[in-house]
Structure formats: C-alpha cells, structure tokens
Amino acid sequence: MNAIAALGARTLRVLQGWGHAALFFLGLLRVLPQSLRRFGLVVVQMHAIGNRSLLIILASGLAVGFVLALQLYNTLITFGAAESLGLVVNLTLVRELGPVVTALLFAGRAGTSLTAEIGLMKAGEQLAAMELMAIDPRARVLAPRFLAGILSMPLLAALFSAIGILGAWLVGVGLIGLDGGNFWSIQQNGVDVWRDVANGIIKSAVFGVICTFVALYQGYETEATPEGVAYATTRTVVLSSLAVLGMDFILTALMFSTR
C-alpha cells in the first residue's frame, strides 16, 4: 500500500508542477501586449539573445552545410543522383536541421543565460524589489525576453539553413565540381516556399516559444542558491532539448505527411 501511496503522491506532484507551469505560461501571455507597447525593452533583449547567438549559429550552420554536402554526395553518387545534392541539403536543412539544431544551440547558449540571469535576479531579490515598487516583474522582465526569443528564433533558423546551403554550395560546386547552375535550379524546382520554407519558419517559431518559456520558467522557479541556479540551467537545456525533439516529431507528422 505504501508504494502505491508514494506513487500517487508523486503523480500528484508532477501534475501540480505541470499545472503551475501552464498557469505561468498563461500569465506570461496575458502580459505580452504590454511589452509590445514597450518595444524598446524587447529590442534590448533581442540583442542579448539574438545577436549574441549569431556567431555560434552561423558557424554551426556552415559546418553542418559542409558535412551534409560531403556525406550526402557519397550516398547520392551511388544512385547517379549527385546533381540533386543541393536539393537534398536544402530540404534537410529547411525542413528539419535548421529549426531543430538552431533550437538546441539556442537552448544551450541563450536558454542557459536567460535561466541564470532570472535566477540570479530572483536570488538578489531584484524581482521582489520590483514587485514592491508596484511594477509587475513578469511584464517588465520576463515578457520582453519571451517575445525576443520568439522573434529571434525564426531569424536564426533561417540564417542557419541559408548559410548551410551556401556551405554545401562551396563544397559541392567549389570543391567537388558539381554543376553550379543545376545546383540552384534543381532546388528551385524541388523546394516549395509554402510547404517547406514557411513550415520550417513555423517550426522554429514554435521552438522559440518552447525554449524561451522553459528557460524563463526554470530561472523564475529556481532556489535562490548557487546550486539551485546551476541545477536550473542544466534543467533548461535538458527540458528544452527534449521538448523540441518531441514537438519536432509532432510538427513533422502534421506538416509533412503525405496526404
């Protein structure tokens, strides 16, 4: 009986945690319009979240583009389809790797910094001070960061895919010697703006919501100790990554299933 009671208690705690997170999310949504009015705050956060992530996103995108070109070429050449290299790299990036890898990198770079920042602000009583000054910390501190994350992610993912394709072009056309004209024209014929590019952007926006929310929530709920903050940043990366990968499966099934 004790084991069942313990299991029951554990389940209730998990449910309570999810409920708490859901209410937090709704609370954030409710104060979003306010931060739209104070867009200057969002801009400052976009600089911290977006601009500062540019280097790693661009570097990773280029590297992934290189590697994809090399690996896919090896396989495609056995089917006599080496000319399709551009198309395959494009679809791989725009539909999947662009949004997903960007989200994972974002969780690691921007997500952890958000969690640590909010956690330390909470530990230093800055959020309590704001509350006692009759200023809602969710509207002033959390919502601008939330919005900045949602806006930055699609831009970063698009840049990842774009520079990945350019990297594949450098390897495929520059290094291996495939035909340059075909590289682009086969892509233009095979990639659909609405089905592939737009869906990829929608995916990255959803991932932006997930990663930013998880980061902010973990920071806000952390214990005000050094261990607490360290643990929270780890949780941010793990939870964001799992949620992104899970959501990616659902979105891919929704968007790219053959009708």
Partner: protein, 167 residues
C-alpha cells in the same frame, strides 16, 4: 553599450535574418516560378489521375505554364476532376489534350498539355475535352501478361492451324 548602438545592431540582425528568409524563398525555392501574375482556371477530367498531387506543375512542351490547384472526384461519373490555373498570356486551342506524365523515370507526376489545331481558344472555366489518364504500373503489367498469354495462345492456335494446314 549605448541604447542607440544596441538598436542598430538588433536592426542589422533582423535585416540579416529576413535576408536569409528571402534567400531561402527566392534562390532556393520555387517562389519566382509561382504565378506572380494573373491566371485563369481550366478543368480536366481523368479516368485515373495516378499519383498527381495538388500544386504539381502544368507543362506544355516541357515549360511550366501553370499549377494544379485542386483534385476531386465527380460523384456521378466517378471521374477525377482536376482544376488547373494557367498563366495569362498562354492560350490553348479548344482541342488541346491533357496527359498525366511522369518527370523522369520515377519522378513526380505533372499534367502535360499538347495543343491541338483549333482556331478557337479555351476560355476561363472551360473543360479540356481530350485527356489521357496516368499510366498505372499494375495495369501495365497486367496488360503485358495478358498480351503474353494471348500471344502464346494464338501462337499455339496458329501453330495448330499451321500444323493442321500442313500436309
């Protein structure tokens, strides 16, 4: 870092990101080949549309002249009804035929238009009268086997005949 420089940097970031999106849409996808002008609709009916999908291209002489916008089933005639949008400026004679063809050997299917010789052109909303359905592999194999069987049968029959006729 001053507020002004932060805003400039973020503006650059947004610009860069949008440029990336535009690059993906234009250079790496089919945005420019989509009808950015006006189109007019046509209808074609097929006994079997095969693997034709919506948004597949409509080509004439291999050149893309339009898109498939819808596929449905006529409940009375049980024919497949395909809606096409053709770019304005491309007018086809009334006796144009529409065939469902495959790009390459194993590629996607599209609708090919072969113009006839009629002096009058198809008007918007017209139905293309002559259509050829998609080639379905099973039917092809079945036909091949049937032909083979018929050949063997008539061969033995003609052989028997020939045998019979020989003195």
């Amino acid at each position: 870092m001053s507020k002004r420089s932060i805003e400039i940097l973020v503006g650059l970031f947004v610009l860069l990101g949008l440029a990336g999106i535009v690059f993906l849409a234009l250079k790496a996808a089919n945005l420019t080949t989509l009808s950015n002008g006006e189109t007019y609709p046509l209808v074609a009916r097929f006994d079997n549309i095969g693997g034709l999908k919506a948004r597949a291209p409509v080509r004439s002489a291999g050149v893309v002249v339009g898109r498939i916008t819808g596929i449905s089933l006529d409940p009375k005639t049980f024919q497949g009804v395909v809606s096409l949008e053709i770019k304005r400026g491309f007018d086809f004679p009334k006796d144009t035929s529409a065939k469902i063809l495959t790009a390459g050997l194993l590629g996607d299917q599209y609708v090919g238009l072969e113009p006839g010789g009629d002096t009058a052109n198809l008007a918007p909303g017209d139905t293309i009268k002559q259509t050829q359905s998609a080639v379905v592999l099973e039917n092809l194999i079945g036909q091949f086997l049937f032909n083979k069987a018929a050949e063997a049968g008539s061969g033995s029959a003609s052989g028997a005949d020939a045998g019979g006729k020989k003195p």
